[in-house]
């Protein structure tokens, strides 16, 4: 079979990119290899672990279950875009740091993307709501408690 190539134009963290991609290229691999945005981690590659979670037009999705060509004309947000222009952490990144919400850090980018989108919609979450929102992200180090604490703290700080 001839290689099936497509031209795509998309925005990642506010920067516009134009690339030619093979149809079978996963969005996760496109971000890491073609755009050198290796903050998006690849764990299971079949939609179970959540490590590759990015925002598609603001909503968290598995980037390993999307083709790069499907992101054509869409806006993607990755962990590289969370800190502000001055390089200051997003409140959730800071809270994860403060609460020791990561150990090996492999799951962290996916968790940050999932939970920052969650906090944008829910500034006063209960612990149960946080655990429900977090249910699609596996972490094998922390036991989740410190992540939940960090999200609670971030919510409090974001409420001001």
């Amino acid at each position: 079979m001839d290689i099936d190539l497509h031209d795509v134009t998309l925005s990642v963290n506010g920067t516009k990119y134009q690339r030619r991609v093979e149809s079978r290229l996963l969005l996760s691999d496109f971000l890491r290899h073609d755009l050198s945005l290796a903050g998006t981690h690849v764990g299971c590659e079949h939609g179970v672990c959540g490590a590759c979670t990015v925002l598609l037009d603001g909503a968290p999705v598995r980037s390993c279950l999307m083709l790069a060509v499907q992101a054509n004309h869409h806006e993607i947000s990755t962990v590289e875009g969370l800190a502000n222009e001055a390089g200051e952490y997003h409140p959730l990144q800071q809270a994860m740091h403060d609460h020791h919400g990561l150990q090996c850090g492999y799951c962290t980018p996916g968790i940050l993307m999932t939970m920052t989108a969650f906090l944008d919609e829910n500034r006063s979450p209960s612990e149960d709501e946080i655990r429900e929102a977090l249910s699609g992200n596996l972490c094998r180090c922390t036991g989740y408690q410190n992540i939940v604490d960090a999200v609670m703290t971030a919510a409090e700080r974001m409420r001001g």
């Binding site: 099936d4 497509h6 149809s23 996963l26 079949h46 909503a59 279950l65 999307m66």
Partner: protein, 291 residues
Amino acid sequence: MKPAPFKYLAATSLEHALALKAEHGDDAKFLAGGQSLMPAMNFRLARPEVLIDINGIESLAGIRPDATATRVGALTRYRVLQRDASFTRAFPLIGEALPHIAHPQIRNRGTFGGNLAHADPASELPAITLALAARFRVQSATCERWIEAPAFFAGALTTDLKSDEMLVEVELDLPKPRSGACFMEIARRRGDFAIVGVAAMIGLDDASQCSDVRLSFCGVGETPVDASAAAEILVGQPLTEKTVREVAASVQAMIDPAGSVHATADYQRHVAGVLTERALQTAYQRARNGH
């Protein structure tokens, strides 16, 4: 863990998608939310030669309520259903099941029609369409037909769809007044596939006796299982502990779960009985309370 090569075609309209499917037949798969198809392709369990992306076809997405029935477009994402309060109020069975379907990230992409056309017997929605007696509108480039929910599911991951057809929408009758619904499932973790899931609907007559009972299961067979026949003994009487136990025993005798490394067939049968009792009692209470 990367898909095998394929040709990607982005359909620009329903007609375009159906024409492409007519041209490529079984070599082509429709790509909707991709939350089941993409893992299968990453594992190379599925190796379609052509992928027809229908995500750009806006007319396939949306909820269209009517006086007596609601139509749900095949491309309607779980998240949209979950956030539509009037929809989940009208169809509490679906509203109650949605949080059990995978996780938020999956629900942002996964679609109503994609789920049904994938026809995983452990999935919640196929069983629910049985309990709701849903009708499936199916289209090809040359014709259109309606399929009743039980006939749509032909086997594990197999439907009645022909190689040139697409499921375009599902019609759900509004539940009658004085009816109650309940969906329950037991899974090893929230969002995992069900060990057993049950959908129960009970309609009451003026004397608060059961006039209509529907019962269906996911995870206990090759297809979603309609067990309404086991619940027929309830019709014409109020619900009691004894009659509910009888229904549970009939369900246990009727189903033929396959068992797995996580749950033996005997355990699944046991859970099906327990969930039958709980779901029928809850649906009955809700019908009596008027929601």
